[in-house]
């Protein structure tokens, strides 16, 4: 490695950056599909409010703040005038001050005024608490009036916080499950509640948004009980419908402040697409590797780069690649301990960190600041997230470069063809339905636990009569007692316990290296990321997992230097609960109902890192994870299945199975007693037995692996034919599943994370027949799948359009995906199914 090129801070960095980027992209063979120059902006300023208390003014001056941006002043004025406010200015526009200032000013005048601030993650709350506390101290307020309070807060600190804190920084989960059910312990705090801050409110959409709305309703209700009537201050990334969204999840009509007056240097944004590696297969170089290559080269050119890798594993793999090229590479993600985060932020400021790899914008603390170039691997799922990430490009108003490396998936390829969607069109609308009946009922139950429900109470969009009816249902469920029209909770446990605001399983598994905690992973992911034998990348370095103890919630790791990766095999099984509701549609039956989704990690493969060839397969016994939720399935009828079976001629005679095939074949026949493993038919004159590869030959990189005895099975001709058709059915369904799941979020008001997909050639939900299932990842489900089922016809039309219109031969990640049997993408089968479902001619 050459001597380090110092990170330059010259004003000309950006043009250099753009020139460097273009040069490097050409070097890599990466196509620029769109380029936009965003003009610089001068800052517009306003003085501090004249009536700000002296101590606060001095504290601000001590932090170097003598004036405000126009938008900060506008927001602060509105809050102090008693309005509810929404601030949607960009990244690094000083939004925190917009709420810190009025709160501190108010608290200096009134020692009983309190504020509650909600953040989507604990890490964000902790970061904000430090800054807020420092400002409070500087203004002469007593220590301990600003406190973060969440699952990490030690129990011996909690009583003191309850007794003294005036500003509490926490998250919706803590409010929901710990604070509200014990509100009598918080009477002092709640009776003085003047402000509720909701940060990053755009994050609360779909199911999460519905839950936040429920929690906010309950909070306001309890506050009212103690005589408080707080105002709401919300911040958000750019949305297409900010005011509507605030009304939906916060229940308030806000004053909207959005003219961003912070100075900004010029910004260049490039959309790039990695080159095709196989035209027929439609495969491109992976976006992540491409992004890492580009970032590494830009770092060599002396730029500081921030890479958004989209996933934890992606971030780890990017770091490995980057470390081969340059020094000063760091990962920055939420599983890091607070001390490590501070260290990386310092290293960024000092220039020691040259490339920082993060997963998403939300995980960045406030002190990360800006960099010269931002490289995003794969479209982050929404324009709001995209602009939030690009917003980090450019330091302190100096120019910056943003590069989006498009991935191979359907949404990314759509953007490659329609870049205007990102630049010109209105940003997406955040949508959620807090009055969805199941969500509302969950929160009504929690509300009843908190305070008996009065006869004239309404809850969100439900009037008193409807609330009373739901109360009767709670009574019938054995959870409530109704007397004089009042609903009293009488269940024997917290209703809040059974309600998860986010996805299932918030438990964290600690990763231990030589007994020292180096990070955490959520329990469900732990099963397939740190199973025993897994090679797990932490901070870019490979570690071998020696032990996973789910009961104790720890995984023990050991550093290793294998040039090996592991990939776990996950098996999913979906069983119905009760009888699903059925509706006949063209070519299939649509089923909806409650299901149990069991996920089991059965084994894993070791792969050589560079070539990805399979080195070996190993079994695993881990307890499965269970999810009870709602699902939408469609079960193709016999005619459709027959079309599936006929589609895609499968010829297996022409394959060359390698030099040791005759021996392997003979061994399999001998092992199976020269009889079909399925029906027992023996070889006889006229009947020749076949030896079938369970996992198709094409999936393997070496003939030797493909021909292992445990992958071979003896079959008679008709069983062989049936097995091959089974493969086809499986691939066809899986292919359709991929396409539909990619498109579902465009139709249904949710996040892609809210849905899981599973294709099963013999599904218990469809009485043993083939079925494609889409299930909700939130426990209990919320009705998204019922909505999808209602729009079944639209969905299959759109899926057919996507798959039939794709330019690849047999299927690719942009249409039917890598799902299905390895080695067989199933595009033809998918089209056959979709034709049958839409009634198009084959």
């Amino acid at each position: 490695m050459d001597a380090q090129v110092p990170v330059e801070r010259s004003r000309h960095a950006p043009d250099r950056a753009v020139a460097a980027a273009r040069r490097r992209l050409t070097e890599l063979g990466t196509e620029i599909v769109a380029a936009r120059s965003l003009a610089p902006r001068e800052g517009s300023f306003a003085p501090l409010p004249g009536d700000l208390p002296g101590p606060l003014r001095s504290a601000l001056a001590a932090s170097g703040i003598e004036r405000l941006y126009l938008h900060q002043r506008a927001a602060i004025d509105a809050v102090r005038a008693g309005d509810d406010v929404l601030l949607t200015t960009g990244t690094a526009s000083g939004k925190s001050l917009a709420y810190q200032l009025p709160i501190l000013a108010g608290q200096l005048a009134d020692p009983e005024a309190t504020a509650l601030a909600l953040f989507p993650t604990k890490a964000l709350a902790h970061d904000q608490a430090d800054g807020f506390a420092a400002l409070a101290r500087g203004a002469g307020l007593p220590a301990g009036i600003v406190a973060d309070y969440d699952g990490d807060t030690s129990s011996h600190r909690r009583p003191g916080i309850r007794a003294e804190a005036r500003t509490l920084l926490t998250n919706p989960d803590m409010l929901h499950a710990a604070i509200l059910p014990h509100h009598t312990l918080w009477r002092r705090f709640l009776s003085g509640l003047r402000w509720i801050v909701v940060d990053e409110v755009h994050v609360y959409r779909g199911v999460f948004g519905g839950h936040l709305a429920g929690v906010v309703r309950r909070l306001l209700r309890v506050a009212r009980h103690y005589g408080a009537d707080p105002r709401v201050i919300a911040t958000s990334a750019t949305l297409g419908n900010p005011v509507e969204h605030a009304r939906t999840v916060l229940g308030r009509d806000v004053v909207h402040v959005d003219a961003d007056a912070a100075p900004r240097g010029p910004r260049e944004v490039l959309l790039v697409r990695p080159p095709l590696v196989d035209e027929a297969l439609g495969l491109r170089r992976p976006a992540l590797a491409e992004a890492a290559s580009l970032a590494g080269r830009l770092a060599e050119d002396g730029l500081q780069v921030l890479v958004f890798a989209g996933s934890r594993q992606g971030a780890e793999e990017a770091v490995v690649q980057l470390r081969n090229r340059t020094d000063g590479v760091r990962t920055y993600r939420s599983g890091l301990l607070a001390g490590e985060r501070r260290l990386i932020e310092r290293e960024l400021r000092d220039g020691v960190a040259r490339v920082v790899v993060a997963t998403s914008a939300l995980e960045l603390g406030i002190d990360v600041g800006g960099v010269d170039a931002v490289v995003i691997a794969g479209y982050p799922g929404s324009a709001a997230a995209f602009w939030q990430q690009i917003g980090r490009a450019g330091r302190r108003g100096r120019p910056g470069l943003g590069v989006l490396v498009l991935a191979g998936g359907p949404l990314d390829q759509y953007l490659a063809r329609h870049p205007g969607h990102l630049f010109g069109a209105a940003p997406e609308r955040a949508l959620s339905d807090p009055d969805h009946l199941l969500l509302a009922l969950d929160h009504l139950r929690c509300a009843a636990f908190e305070l008996p429900i009065e006869p004239d109470e309404r809850f969100g969009g439900y009037g008193p009569e409807e609330v009373a009816a739901l109360g009767q249902q709670m009574r019938a469920d054995g959870e409530a007692h109704v007397a004089d029209g009042r609903i009293y909770w009488l269940g024997d446990r917290y209703p809040a316990e059974g309600v998860s605001l986010r996805s299932a399983g918030r438990d964290e598994v600690a990763l231990l290296l030589d007994g020292v905690a180096i990070g955490t992973i959520d329990a469900p992911s732990a099963r397939w990321m740190v199973h025993p034998g897994a090679v797990y990348l932490h901070d870019g370095r490979p570690h071998l997992v020696e032990e996973l103890d789910l009961a104790q919630r720890i995984a023990r790791l050991r550093a290793t230097d294998d040039a090996v990766l592991t990939r776990a095999n996950r098996e999913t099984r979906i069983d119905p609960v009760g009888r699903p509701a059925a509706r006949a549609v063209r070519g299939a039956t649509v089923l909806t109902g409650e299901v149990t989704v069991t996920e089991r990690v059965t084994g894993y493969r070791r792969l050589r890192r560079v070539t990805r060839e399979t080195l070996g397969r190993f079994p695993l016994t881990l307890e499965p994870s269970h999810l009870r939720t709602r699902a939408y399935a469609f079960a193709p009828d016999e005619a459709t299945v027959a079309r599936l079976r006929r589609a895609g001629a499968w010829s297996n005679d022409a394959n060359d199975y390698g030099p040791d095939w005759p021996r392997a074949r003979a061994a399999a026949l001998s092992r199976d007693g020269h009889a079909c493993r399925v029906c027992g038919t023996k070889a006889a004159s006229g009947t020749r037995l076949h030896v079938h590869h369970v996992v198709p030959f094409r999936a393997f990189a070496s003939a030797r692996e493909a021909n292992r005895a445990d992958n071979l099975t003896t079959l008679c001709p008709s069983c062989h034919r049936r097995a091959e058709q089974g493969v086809r059915v499986r691939s066809g369904l899986a292919a359709v599943a991929y396409a539909m799941r990619s498109l579902a979020p465009l139709r249904v008001l949710c996040d892609a994370r809210d849905l899981g997909v599973h294709a099963d050639p013999s599904s218990a939900v469809a009485d043993g027949g083939p079925a494609l299932l889409i299930y909700e990842t939130v426990p209990g489900g919320v009705g998204l799948t019922d909505e999808l089922a209602r729009r079944h016809e639209e969905l299959v039309e759109a899926a057919l359009e996507l798959v039939a219109g794709c330019g690849c031969d047999d299927g690719c990640p942009a249409c039917v995906g890598p799902a299905g049997e390895p080695g067989h993408a199933g595009k033809r089968e998918a089209i056959a199914v979709l034709d049958a479902l839409t009634g198009s001619e084959a």
């Binding site: 059910p181 014990h182 009922l441 008996p452 007397a483 009488l490 024997d492 917290y494 209703p495």
Partner: protein, 414 residues
């Protein structure tokens, strides 16, 4: 509204429409029927009803082998209880805790769930008090959450003026729950600033090593020698029975719950007198059968540790000395206190005995004793060597000491 509920059922995937839960039979306004079922009296206030059941035990009545006692708390128990009251001067007891006129109140609740929080009700509160002639248990029963305000007012009357409250695991459950109920109605908290004697931590210190667990039932059976009737209701069923009562207004399934609660209060009083016997010098005079020596020693040791924790070092030392022959840990603690009082020779005697049994730490103490008290450096080195041979101590720790001693020997001896 049936549309709404139909939609709800469909979304939840409920089976066919469940049977409607019938409205409960309206009770007579004074709840006389329910009161009779429970052997209680009903008290009607302006806007609600509560039920009261009374039981009375004569002075000296036994629960198992122990009397329910009486009078003020032993001063040491009082000191332990006062720690919990925090420095809130508002409700200092006007009567010292050990005065016979002090009002010691025993408290135990039955609730609609174990979750605590604002949605859990204490539908039954048992309150036990002493007077000159005996012991009274009053049980307040809540006929329904809509009556809670008058119920709490009645409870407040029983608790006001209490100089101490005694419970079992009340610190983490019963008391916070009761105080939450008062807070929910905006009523003043009668327990604010009242010293709380939670017997569970004490019981653990005394009997954890001798018993399979320290639940009230186990302690009652094994230590107090009391047996309950077979009709005891398992704790897990209690909330469901109350809910069923609210629907049916048939209180008979709750009778067992009331008896259980009353027995708990009596057991608390008996446990207190059992513990107080240990604190009085005449503890040797007992009417019980011959105690097993090992259990006694463990109990003595636990008690001594507790006495040390509340600052009664003399009594603690006596306890350690009484148990040391049977329990090495007690010998160790005795040595520790003796050394603190500069009775080094006596401390060394204990260490010698422990060292002879192969305790490496005791050898190290002897090494320190020989070096600092006797000036015997070579003796100290011998002791370190013996410690090393016993094993189980940190090698680097021993090495450091040895090196220091050798350096000193070199300096002294030349």
């Amino acid at each position: 509204m049936s549309d709404l509920l139909d939609r709800l059922r469909a979304l939840r995937g409920d089976a066919a429409e469940a049977e409607a839960v019938p409205e409960p039979r309206a009770p007579d306004p004074a709840w006389g029927g329910v009161a009779a079922q429970l052997g209680a009296a009903s008290v009607v206030a302006g806007n609600g009803v509560h039920l009261v059941r009374r039981a009375r035990l004569a002075h000296g009545a036994l629960h198992g082998r122990w009397p329910v006692g009486g009078g003020g708390l032993h001063p040491w128990l009082g000191r332990w209880a006062s720690r919990s009251a925090r420095a809130v001067p508002s409700r200092r007891a006007s009567t010292p805790l050990d005065d016979d006129r002090a009002k010691v109140v025993y408290l135990d609740t039955e609730t609609t769930g174990l979750a605590g929080g604002t949605g859990t009700y204490a539908f039954l509160v048992g309150v036990g008090t002493h007077d000159a002639d005996g012991f009274t248990v009053e049980q307040l029963f809540l006929p329904g959450p809509e009556h809670e305000r008058v119920y709490l007012t009645a409870l407040s009357e029983r608790l006001v003026g209490a100089t101490a409250v005694v419970s079992y695991n009340g610190a983490s459950f019963d008391l916070p729950l009761v105080r939450t109920r008062f807070a929910m109605h905006g009523l003043p908290d009668p327990l604010e600033g009242v010293p709380h004697l939670d017997l569970l931590p004490l019981a653990r210190r005394l009997w954890r090593r001798s018993l399979p667990d320290c639940t009230l039932g186990t302690v009652e059976r094994e230590v107090l020698g009391a047996r309950r009737s077979a009709r005891d209701v398992p704790g897990a069923e209690v909330p469901a029975r109350y809910l069923a009562f609210l629907r049916s207004r048939d209180a008979r399934p709750l009778r067992g719950v009331l008896e259980h609660n009353r027995d708990d209060i009596v057991a608390l009083a008996a446990m207190r007198s059992r513990i107080e016997e240990m604190l009085t010098p005449e503890e040797t005079t007992r009417t019980t059968a011959r105690p097993q020596p090992t259990r006694d020693a463990l109990e003595l040791h636990g008690l001594a540790r507790w006495l040390e924790a509340i600052g009664e070092a003399d009594a603690a030392l006596a306890g350690y000395l009484a148990a040391e022959d049977r329990l090495p840990d007690a010998a160790w603690d005795a040595a520790r206190l003796l050394r603190r009082r500069r009775r080094f020779g006596e401390a060394a005697a204990r260490w010698s005995r422990l060292a002879a049994d192969g305790d490496a730490r005791a050898w190290i103490e002897l090494a320190k004793h020989r070096e600092h008290r006797l000036g015997d450096v070579s003796g100290a080195l011998d002791a370190l060597e013996a410690a090393r041979r016993c094993g189980g101590t940190r090698h680097d720790d021993l090495e450091r000491r040895r090196a220091r001693l050798l350096a000193r020997a070199a300096r002294d001896g030349g």
